[in-house]
Protein backbone atom coordinates (compact mmCIF):
# COMPACT_ATOMS: atom_id res chain seq x y z
CA UNK A 1 0.00 0.00 0.00
CA UNK A 2 1.39 3.33 -0.99
CA UNK A 3 2.31 5.36 2.15
CA UNK A 4 0.58 8.43 0.71
CA UNK A 5 -2.72 6.64 0.96
CA UNK A 6 -3.41 6.35 -2.75
CA UNK A 7 -3.96 2.81 -3.83
CA UNK A 8 -2.49 1.20 -6.89
CA UNK A 9 -5.53 1.57 -9.08
CA UNK A 10 -5.90 5.31 -8.50
CA UNK A 11 -2.19 5.85 -9.04
CA UNK A 12 -2.11 4.10 -12.32
CA UNK A 13 -5.27 5.85 -13.52
CA UNK A 14 -3.87 9.23 -12.59
CA UNK A 15 -0.55 8.80 -14.22
CA UNK A 16 -1.38 7.14 -17.47
CA UNK A 17 0.96 8.50 -20.06
CA UNK A 18 0.15 5.92 -22.65
CA UNK A 19 2.92 5.24 -25.13
CA UNK A 20 5.63 7.16 -23.25
CA UNK A 21 5.30 5.38 -19.95
CA UNK A 22 8.21 3.45 -18.58
CA UNK A 23 10.21 3.86 -21.79
CA UNK A 24 13.06 5.94 -20.35
CA UNK A 25 15.67 5.69 -17.61
CA UNK A 26 14.92 6.45 -14.01
CA UNK A 27 16.26 9.98 -14.19
CA UNK A 28 13.72 11.10 -16.76
CA UNK A 29 10.28 12.14 -15.59
CA UNK A 30 7.42 12.23 -18.02
CA UNK A 31 4.35 14.20 -16.96
CA UNK A 32 1.59 16.31 -18.44
CA UNK A 33 2.42 20.00 -18.50
CA UNK A 34 -0.95 20.84 -16.97
CA UNK A 35 -0.26 18.82 -13.89
CA UNK A 36 3.27 20.06 -13.55
CA UNK A 37 2.12 23.65 -13.61
CA UNK A 38 -0.63 23.15 -11.08
CA UNK A 39 1.69 21.15 -8.83
CA UNK A 40 4.20 23.96 -8.91
CA UNK A 41 1.55 26.56 -8.15
CA UNK A 42 -0.03 24.67 -5.31
CA UNK A 43 3.02 23.98 -3.25
CA UNK A 44 4.27 27.50 -2.83
CA UNK A 45 1.47 30.04 -2.80
CA UNK A 46 2.75 33.30 -1.34
CA UNK A 47 0.13 35.07 0.64
CA UNK A 48 -0.74 38.73 0.68
CA UNK A 49 -1.21 39.71 4.28
CA UNK A 50 -4.42 41.71 4.26
CA UNK A 51 -5.27 41.69 7.90
CA UNK A 52 -7.78 44.21 9.11
CA UNK A 53 -8.93 43.15 12.57
CA UNK A 54 -8.69 40.39 15.18
CA UNK A 55 -8.25 37.61 12.65
CA UNK A 56 -5.07 39.32 11.54
CA UNK A 57 -3.55 38.52 14.92
CA UNK A 58 -4.37 34.87 14.46
CA UNK A 59 -2.88 35.03 10.98
CA UNK A 60 0.29 36.49 12.47
CA UNK A 61 0.27 33.77 15.11
CA UNK A 62 -0.13 31.17 12.37
CA UNK A 63 2.91 32.57 10.61
CA UNK A 64 4.98 32.69 13.81
CA UNK A 65 6.98 30.03 15.56
CA UNK A 66 4.42 27.65 17.02
CA UNK A 67 2.25 27.04 13.97
CA UNK A 68 4.60 27.75 11.15
CA UNK A 69 3.02 28.70 7.86
CA UNK A 70 6.30 28.63 6.03
CA UNK A 71 6.45 24.86 6.18
CA UNK A 72 3.54 24.63 3.76
CA UNK A 73 5.27 27.01 1.44
CA UNK A 74 3.61 30.30 2.30
CA UNK A 75 5.64 33.44 2.80
CA UNK A 76 4.02 36.76 3.72
CA UNK A 77 4.34 39.41 1.06
CA UNK A 78 3.29 42.99 1.59
CA UNK A 79 2.64 43.93 -1.99
CA UNK A 80 -0.25 42.50 -3.98
CA UNK A 81 1.86 42.31 -7.08
CA UNK A 82 4.10 39.67 -5.56
CA UNK A 83 1.43 37.49 -4.02
CA UNK A 84 -0.74 34.60 -5.15
CA UNK A 85 -3.24 34.23 -2.35
CA UNK A 86 -5.03 37.04 -0.59
CA UNK A 87 -6.12 36.09 2.90
CA UNK A 88 -8.85 38.55 3.88
CA UNK A 89 -8.58 38.37 7.64
CA UNK A 90 -10.98 40.56 9.54
CA UNK A 91 -13.99 42.76 9.02
CA UNK A 92 -14.22 44.64 5.75
CA UNK A 93 -16.08 47.93 6.05
CA UNK A 94 -17.69 49.99 3.34
CA UNK A 95 -14.82 52.43 3.39
CA UNK A 96 -12.37 49.59 2.92
CA UNK A 97 -14.41 47.66 0.35
CA UNK A 98 -13.41 49.90 -2.50
CA UNK A 99 -9.75 49.45 -1.58
CA UNK A 100 -10.13 45.68 -1.35
CA UNK A 101 -11.41 45.61 -4.88
CA UNK A 102 -8.51 47.71 -6.06
CA UNK A 103 -5.98 45.49 -4.32
CA UNK A 104 -7.57 42.37 -5.77
CA UNK A 105 -7.32 43.82 -9.23
CA UNK A 106 -3.67 44.62 -8.68
CA UNK A 107 -2.80 40.99 -8.05
CA UNK A 108 -1.52 39.06 -11.03
CA UNK A 109 -3.23 35.93 -12.34
CA UNK A 110 -3.55 33.19 -11.11
CA UNK A 111 -4.89 34.55 -7.88
CA UNK A 112 -6.97 33.05 -5.11
CA UNK A 113 -8.82 34.48 -2.14
CA UNK A 114 -9.32 32.97 1.29
CA UNK A 115 -12.00 34.58 3.45
CA UNK A 116 -10.79 34.05 7.01
CA UNK A 117 -13.11 34.45 9.91
CA UNK A 118 -16.83 34.98 10.09
CA UNK A 119 -16.60 38.72 9.42
CA UNK A 120 -15.10 38.16 6.00
CA UNK A 121 -17.48 35.29 5.30
CA UNK A 122 -20.77 36.96 6.08
CA UNK A 123 -20.40 39.99 8.29
CA UNK A 124 -19.73 38.12 11.50
CA UNK A 125 -21.18 39.36 14.79
CA UNK A 126 -21.83 42.72 13.15
CA UNK A 127 -24.37 41.48 10.65
CA UNK A 128 -27.43 42.79 12.40
CA UNK A 129 -26.90 46.44 13.17
CA UNK A 130 -23.68 47.16 11.37
CA UNK A 131 -24.48 49.85 8.89
CA UNK A 132 -20.88 50.29 7.87
CA UNK A 133 -19.88 46.62 7.70
CA UNK A 134 -19.73 44.70 4.45
CA UNK A 135 -21.71 41.52 4.94
CA UNK A 136 -19.10 39.19 3.56
CA UNK A 137 -16.21 40.02 1.31
CA UNK A 138 -17.65 37.92 -1.51
CA UNK A 139 -19.88 40.87 -2.39
CA UNK A 140 -16.90 42.60 -3.96
CA UNK A 141 -14.40 39.86 -4.84
CA UNK A 142 -14.72 36.15 -5.68
CA UNK A 143 -13.70 33.86 -2.83
CA UNK A 144 -12.25 30.35 -3.09
CA UNK A 145 -12.08 29.08 0.48
CA UNK A 146 -14.07 30.18 3.52
CA UNK A 147 -12.55 29.54 6.94
CA UNK A 148 -15.18 29.93 9.68
CA UNK A 149 -14.46 30.94 13.25
CA UNK A 150 -14.31 34.04 15.35
CA UNK A 151 -11.34 34.08 15.25
CA UNK A 152 -10.41 30.76 13.67
CA UNK A 153 -7.54 29.02 15.38
CA UNK A 154 -4.26 28.96 13.48
CA UNK A 155 -4.77 25.25 12.92
CA UNK A 156 -8.11 25.99 11.25
CA UNK A 157 -6.46 28.53 8.98
CA UNK A 158 -3.80 25.99 8.05
CA UNK A 159 -6.51 23.47 7.21
CA UNK A 160 -8.20 26.02 4.99
CA UNK A 161 -4.95 26.75 3.22
CA UNK A 162 -4.27 23.06 2.67
CA UNK A 163 -7.72 22.74 1.13
CA UNK A 164 -6.83 25.64 -1.12
CA UNK A 165 -3.68 23.81 -2.13
CA UNK A 166 -5.75 20.75 -3.03
CA UNK A 167 -8.05 22.94 -5.11
CA UNK A 168 -5.11 24.41 -6.98
CA UNK A 169 -3.69 20.94 -7.56
CA UNK A 170 -6.91 19.90 -9.29
CA UNK A 171 -6.84 22.76 -11.76
CA UNK A 172 -5.88 22.21 -15.36
CA UNK A 173 -4.58 25.59 -16.53
CA UNK A 174 -3.71 24.62 -20.09
CA UNK A 175 -6.77 22.58 -20.92
CA UNK A 176 -9.23 24.45 -23.07
CA UNK A 177 -12.42 24.91 -21.12
CA UNK A 178 -15.63 23.73 -22.75
CA UNK A 179 -17.99 26.62 -23.44
Amino acid sequence: MDPDGINELQWSRRNKMGLLENRFNDNVIVEKLDKLLSWGRSTSPWFFQFGTACCAIEMMAAAASRHDLMRIGMIPRSSPRQADVMIVAGTVTMKMALRVKKLYEQMADPKYVVAMGSCATSGGPYWQHGYHVLKGVDIVIPVDVYVPGCPPRPEALIEGLLKLQEQILDERPLTRKMA
Binding site: M94, K95, A97, S122, G123, W127, Q128, H132, I139
Partner: protein, 233 residues
Protein backbone atom coordinates in the same frame (compact mmCIF):
# COMPACT_ATOMS: atom_id res chain seq x y z
CA UNK B 1 -64.90 34.78 39.00
CA UNK B 2 -67.74 35.16 41.49
CA UNK B 3 -67.45 37.57 44.37
CA UNK B 4 -67.50 34.74 46.91
CA UNK B 5 -64.48 33.24 45.28
CA UNK B 6 -62.81 36.68 45.15
CA UNK B 7 -63.30 37.17 48.87
CA UNK B 8 -62.06 33.68 49.60
CA UNK B 9 -58.94 34.21 47.50
CA UNK B 10 -58.14 37.54 49.16
CA UNK B 11 -58.43 35.91 52.59
CA UNK B 12 -56.19 33.05 51.54
CA UNK B 13 -53.63 35.45 50.09
CA UNK B 14 -53.53 37.46 53.30
CA UNK B 15 -53.00 34.32 55.30
CA UNK B 16 -50.34 33.15 52.86
CA UNK B 17 -48.45 36.43 53.10
CA UNK B 18 -48.08 35.91 56.81
CA UNK B 19 -46.59 32.51 56.11
CA UNK B 20 -49.59 30.28 56.67
CA UNK B 21 -49.97 28.02 53.63
CA UNK B 22 -52.34 25.51 55.25
CA UNK B 23 -55.67 27.01 54.12
CA UNK B 24 -54.49 27.19 50.49
CA UNK B 25 -53.07 23.70 50.44
CA UNK B 26 -56.20 22.22 51.96
CA UNK B 27 -58.53 23.39 49.17
CA UNK B 28 -59.81 20.41 47.29
CA UNK B 29 -60.72 22.18 44.02
CA UNK B 30 -57.55 22.24 41.93
CA UNK B 31 -58.54 25.28 39.87
CA UNK B 32 -59.27 27.39 42.91
CA UNK B 33 -56.10 26.28 44.63
CA UNK B 34 -53.95 27.25 41.67
CA UNK B 35 -55.72 30.61 41.35
CA UNK B 36 -55.04 31.29 44.99
CA UNK B 37 -51.38 30.36 44.65
CA UNK B 38 -51.00 32.62 41.59
CA UNK B 39 -52.57 35.53 43.43
CA UNK B 40 -50.26 34.89 46.39
CA UNK B 41 -47.17 34.93 44.19
CA UNK B 42 -48.30 38.21 42.62
CA UNK B 43 -48.87 39.78 46.02
CA UNK B 44 -45.46 38.64 47.25
CA UNK B 45 -43.74 40.18 44.23
CA UNK B 46 -45.56 43.49 44.72
CA UNK B 47 -44.58 43.57 48.38
CA UNK B 48 -40.94 42.81 47.53
CA UNK B 49 -40.67 45.59 44.95
CA UNK B 50 -42.08 48.06 47.44
CA UNK B 51 -39.54 46.95 50.00
CA UNK B 52 -36.61 47.25 47.62
CA UNK B 53 -37.81 50.64 46.38
CA UNK B 54 -37.82 52.10 49.85
CA UNK B 55 -34.38 50.94 51.01
CA UNK B 56 -32.95 51.96 47.62
CA UNK B 57 -34.30 55.46 48.06
CA UNK B 58 -32.87 55.57 51.53
CA UNK B 59 -29.59 54.13 50.27
CA UNK B 60 -29.25 56.73 47.54
CA UNK B 61 -29.99 59.53 49.95
CA UNK B 62 -27.42 58.22 52.39
CA UNK B 63 -24.96 57.66 49.56
CA UNK B 64 -25.23 61.18 48.34
CA UNK B 65 -24.43 62.55 51.74
CA UNK B 66 -21.76 60.04 52.81
CA UNK B 67 -20.06 58.43 49.83
CA UNK B 68 -19.87 61.28 47.35
CA UNK B 69 -19.35 64.36 49.45
CA UNK B 70 -16.33 65.51 47.51
CA UNK B 71 -17.83 65.56 44.03
CA UNK B 72 -21.20 66.95 45.09
CA UNK B 73 -19.51 69.71 47.08
CA UNK B 74 -17.22 70.34 44.17
CA UNK B 75 -20.17 70.61 41.79
CA UNK B 76 -21.88 73.04 44.13
CA UNK B 77 -18.72 75.08 44.41
CA UNK B 78 -18.34 75.22 40.62
CA UNK B 79 -21.99 76.19 40.18
CA UNK B 80 -21.61 78.97 42.74
CA UNK B 81 -18.53 80.31 40.97
CA UNK B 82 -20.19 80.08 37.56
CA UNK B 83 -23.20 81.98 38.83
CA UNK B 84 -20.91 84.72 40.05
CA UNK B 85 -18.84 85.10 36.92
CA UNK B 86 -21.05 83.99 34.04
CA UNK B 87 -24.58 84.59 35.16
CA UNK B 88 -27.35 83.07 33.16
CA UNK B 89 -25.44 80.08 31.83
CA UNK B 90 -26.83 77.46 34.16
CA UNK B 91 -29.74 75.58 32.69
CA UNK B 92 -30.89 74.12 35.97
CA UNK B 93 -29.71 74.04 39.55
CA UNK B 94 -29.50 70.30 40.10
CA UNK B 95 -25.90 69.39 40.85
CA UNK B 96 -26.00 65.89 42.20
CA UNK B 97 -24.25 64.12 39.35
CA UNK B 98 -23.51 66.76 36.77
CA UNK B 99 -23.73 70.43 35.88
CA UNK B 100 -26.15 71.44 33.15
CA UNK B 101 -25.11 74.48 31.16
CA UNK B 102 -26.47 76.47 28.26
CA UNK B 103 -24.39 76.66 25.15
CA UNK B 104 -23.92 80.43 24.86
CA UNK B 105 -20.89 81.17 27.01
CA UNK B 106 -19.38 77.74 26.91
CA UNK B 107 -16.05 78.81 25.42
CA UNK B 108 -15.43 81.39 28.15
CA UNK B 109 -16.49 79.01 30.88
CA UNK B 110 -14.22 76.32 29.48
CA UNK B 111 -11.22 78.64 29.40
CA UNK B 112 -11.93 79.61 32.96
CA UNK B 113 -12.30 75.96 34.05
CA UNK B 114 -8.85 75.17 32.76
CA UNK B 115 -7.05 78.19 34.13
CA UNK B 116 -8.74 78.74 37.52
CA UNK B 117 -6.14 77.59 40.08
CA UNK B 118 -8.51 75.91 42.54
CA UNK B 119 -10.17 73.83 39.80
CA UNK B 120 -7.46 73.39 37.14
CA UNK B 121 -9.26 70.90 34.88
CA UNK B 122 -6.41 70.27 32.53
CA UNK B 123 -7.66 67.02 31.06
CA UNK B 124 -10.81 66.39 29.08
CA UNK B 125 -11.42 62.74 29.67
CA UNK B 126 -14.37 61.91 27.51
CA UNK B 127 -16.89 63.71 25.37
CA UNK B 128 -20.11 61.87 24.64
CA UNK B 129 -22.87 62.91 22.30
CA UNK B 130 -26.25 61.51 23.13
CA UNK B 131 -29.75 61.72 21.72
CA UNK B 132 -32.01 62.15 24.73
CA UNK B 133 -35.24 62.16 22.78
CA UNK B 134 -37.71 65.08 22.99
CA UNK B 135 -35.99 66.71 20.07
CA UNK B 136 -32.88 67.37 22.14
CA UNK B 137 -29.29 66.34 21.68
CA UNK B 138 -26.76 66.59 24.45
CA UNK B 139 -23.02 66.81 24.61
CA UNK B 140 -21.53 65.58 27.87
CA UNK B 141 -18.01 66.41 28.94
CA UNK B 142 -16.12 64.54 31.65
CA UNK B 143 -13.25 66.52 33.15
CA UNK B 144 -10.43 65.55 35.43
CA UNK B 145 -7.70 67.52 37.11
CA UNK B 146 -4.27 65.96 37.35
CA UNK B 147 -3.19 68.39 40.04
CA UNK B 148 -6.11 68.15 42.46
CA UNK B 149 -7.38 64.73 41.35
CA UNK B 150 -11.04 65.67 41.16
CA UNK B 151 -13.71 65.06 38.54
CA UNK B 152 -16.75 66.75 37.17
CA UNK B 153 -19.28 66.26 34.41
CA UNK B 154 -20.85 69.03 32.35
CA UNK B 155 -23.81 68.60 30.05
CA UNK B 156 -25.01 70.95 27.33
CA UNK B 157 -28.34 70.37 25.64
CA UNK B 158 -29.20 71.71 22.21
CA UNK B 159 -32.30 71.39 20.01
CA UNK B 160 -32.20 68.83 17.27
CA UNK B 161 -32.72 71.12 14.32
CA UNK B 162 -30.06 73.68 15.12
CA UNK B 163 -27.52 71.77 17.11
CA UNK B 164 -24.59 74.12 17.57
CA UNK B 165 -22.15 74.29 20.47
CA UNK B 166 -19.00 76.43 20.68
CA UNK B 167 -15.92 74.36 20.13
CA UNK B 168 -13.29 73.96 22.84
CA UNK B 169 -10.59 72.41 20.73
CA UNK B 170 -8.19 75.30 21.28
CA UNK B 171 -8.29 74.67 25.02
CA UNK B 172 -8.02 70.89 25.21
CA UNK B 173 -6.42 69.59 22.04
CA UNK B 174 -8.09 66.24 22.25
CA UNK B 175 -11.44 67.95 21.80
CA UNK B 176 -10.50 68.29 18.14
CA UNK B 177 -11.04 64.60 17.46
CA UNK B 178 -13.75 64.10 20.08
CA UNK B 179 -15.86 66.85 18.51
CA UNK B 180 -15.31 65.49 15.05
CA UNK B 181 -16.54 62.12 16.24
CA UNK B 182 -19.63 63.64 17.88
CA UNK B 183 -20.35 65.56 14.69
CA UNK B 184 -19.93 62.38 12.68
CA UNK B 185 -22.22 60.27 14.81
CA UNK B 186 -24.87 62.78 15.87
CA UNK B 187 -24.66 65.84 13.71
CA UNK B 188 -23.93 68.37 16.43
CA UNK B 189 -22.00 71.23 14.86
CA UNK B 190 -19.20 72.85 16.81
CA UNK B 191 -18.76 76.45 15.84
CA UNK B 192 -15.19 77.65 15.71
CA UNK B 193 -13.75 74.23 14.99
CA UNK B 194 -11.02 74.60 12.42
CA UNK B 195 -11.59 71.37 10.54
CA UNK B 196 -15.00 69.89 11.23
CA UNK B 197 -15.50 66.88 9.01
CA UNK B 198 -16.36 63.25 9.40
CA UNK B 199 -13.73 61.13 11.04
CA UNK B 200 -15.01 57.55 11.21
CA UNK B 201 -17.49 57.28 8.38
CA UNK B 202 -16.64 58.08 4.75
CA UNK B 203 -17.04 61.71 3.75
CA UNK B 204 -19.98 61.03 1.48
CA UNK B 205 -22.03 59.05 3.98
CA UNK B 206 -25.58 60.28 4.56
CA UNK B 207 -27.16 60.58 7.94
CA UNK B 208 -26.17 60.69 11.60
CA UNK B 209 -25.99 57.09 12.79
CA UNK B 210 -26.37 57.43 16.55
CA UNK B 211 -29.56 59.42 16.40
CA UNK B 212 -32.53 57.34 17.39
CA UNK B 213 -34.36 57.99 14.14
CA UNK B 214 -31.51 56.99 11.87
CA UNK B 215 -32.37 55.03 8.74
CA UNK B 216 -29.56 53.26 6.94
CA UNK B 217 -29.00 54.31 3.36
CA UNK B 218 -29.77 51.74 0.67
CA UNK B 219 -26.53 51.56 -1.23
CA UNK B 220 -23.10 53.02 -0.94
CA UNK B 221 -21.20 53.28 -4.21
CA UNK B 222 -23.20 50.41 -5.56
CA UNK B 223 -22.70 48.06 -2.61
CA UNK B 224 -25.87 47.15 -0.79
CA UNK B 225 -25.82 48.24 2.84
CA UNK B 226 -28.77 46.80 4.84
CA UNK B 227 -28.55 43.54 6.57
CA UNK B 228 -30.29 41.16 4.24
CA UNK B 229 -28.29 39.64 1.44
CA UNK B 230 -30.07 37.76 -1.30
CA UNK B 231 -30.07 34.09 -0.50
CA UNK B 232 -30.48 34.68 3.25
CA UNK B 233 -33.88 34.17 4.78
Amino acid sequence: MSTDQDKLITELVEKGLTGDMEPINSIEDRVLRSKAKAALAKAKRAAKSQETAEPKKKKSEEKSSDDLPSSVNLNEKIVYMINEKFSGSLANENTETHIQLKSDQWFEIATWLKSEPSLFFDSLQCQTGIDVGDNTLEARYNFHSMKHNHYTEIRIAVPRKEATIPSVEQIWRIADWFERETYDMLGIEFSGHRDLRRILLPDDWEGWPLRKDYLVQETYHGIVVPKMKEGWE
